[in-house]
């Protein structure tokens, strides 16, 4: 999917918009990273619940590793977003609910890793981290999905700015965008699987 999406991200036809110009292509890089990140944090959230239900430490390990890979995608997403903002808004960071929400959401996940490393007793650590992971995922959805829609935001798709709707996104862009979302999510899951295999071998 990415073998198709990557060249098309540069060569494909895009909507011609005032202010955005060619930067609209960042949709294929920045937004897809965040989609992959949300899916990975979702898997982490699912395994945190599984741990709390069944008490299996493997689920806790999977939860942490999915969150780690999710963080990588989140970091790349923030960097690509900052590059875009620098060209479009004239500054890499502006005081905007969406941007601040995204930064706070990532800081909450950083706190998750700090919390995890600060507790030595394994069962207690896993239980505390799992509960905190659930809180983190709920906060992520609130901070990047709901809060910017309540407040006015500069970010595309919020505050009345064009996002995925009608004129803003040419139909020819959709197959490339969706392929990139699926492709990067699969790469993320694969990366997490490799880490899980490696960690499992270490434990054995």
């Amino acid at each position: 999917m990415l073998i198709y999406a990557l060249p098309m991200a540069w060569l494909g036809e895009v909507s011609v918009q005032v202010i955005l110009h060619e930067t609209i292509r960042n949709l294929y890089f920045h937004v897809t990273m965040w989609f992959a990140m949300i899916f990975l944090f979702g898997f982490s959230f699912f395994h945190a619940i599984q741990f709390l239900r069944k008490g299996n430490l493997i689920s806790d390990m999977k939860s942490t590793l999915y969150a780690e890979v999710g963080m990588v995608f989140g970091a790349v997403g923030i960097v690509t977003g900052m590059i875009w903002a620098n060209f479009t808004w004239g500054a890499p960071w502006v005081n905007d609910p969406k941007l601040n929400g995204a930064a706070v959401a990532l800081l909450i996940y950083i706190a998750y890793f700090i919390l995890k490393s600060s507790i030595t007793e394994s069962i207690r650590r896993a239980k505390t981290a799992s509960v905190y992971n659930i809180f983190s995922f709920v906060m992520l959805i609130l901070l990047i999905g709901i809060m910017p829609r309540i407040n006015d935001s500069l970010h595309p798709g919020n505050g009345g700015n064009p996002g995925f709707g009608g004129y803003a996104l040419k139909n020819s862009m959709r197959p490339v965008f969706y392929s990139a979302v699926v492709g990067w999510t699969i790469i993320g899951l694969w990366l997490a699987e490799v880490k899980i295999k490696w960690k499992s071998k270490m434990i054995e």
Partner: protein, 167 residues
């Protein structure tokens, strides 16, 4: 006395008549009049082909509402249909014009029909896209670099996966 009475009645009737006539006149003045601007013949309002130095295509978004009675040719000639009637007012719409070299313009058209004569204001903004990068083929360098980077990431992932599975 009778004469004075008749005179008073005549004055009163005259006064009332005058008052009613004035009221009728006032009501007519305040009533919405059928205010139309009519084009007997087809008339060119704007020629984008000439003003933009050649237009290859005109794109009109699905949600753009072109006033009834206005026609826009593929070459960007905005004209009125013969016999077209417009209510007095201002009409605004946006078009996208593709120039001869593939350059794109956002064209804002304002038709001011609020007076007895039409006033047409056309404002075009050129949107710079990386057409040069595509024309000289340098875009392929960008594609090649991103594909090489992607290949390296995938290759490393395959290597790691195999190494971890074997261990």
């Amino acid at each position: 006395m009778k004469r004075i009475g008749k005179l008073i009645v005549v004055i009163l009737v005259g006064f009332l008549n005058q008052a009613f006539a004035q009221a009728e006149q006032d009501s007519l003045a305040g009533a919405p009049m059928l205010s139309l601007i009519k084009f007997e013949k087809s008339d060119t309002l704007a020629d984008l082909n000439a003003s933009l130095g050649g237009v290859k295509e005109i794109e009109i978004a699905a949600e753009t509402q072109i006033p009834e009675g206005i026609t826009i040719s593929k070459e960007g000639i905005i004209s009125t249909k013969a016999g077209a009637e417009f209510s007095k007012g201002i009409y605004l719409f946006e078009l996208k014009a593709i120039g001869g070299a593939g350059e794109v313009y956002i064209v804002n058209v304002k038709l001011d029909f609020s007076r007895n004569y039409p006033l047409v204001i056309v404002n075009s903004d050129k949107i710079d896209m990386a057409t040069g990068l595509r024309k000289d083929g340098m875009i392929w360098v960008v594609v090649a670099v991103s594909m090489i980077l992607f290949g390296v990431i995938i290759g490393y992932l395959i290597y790691l996966d195999k190494k971890v599975s074997k261990a």
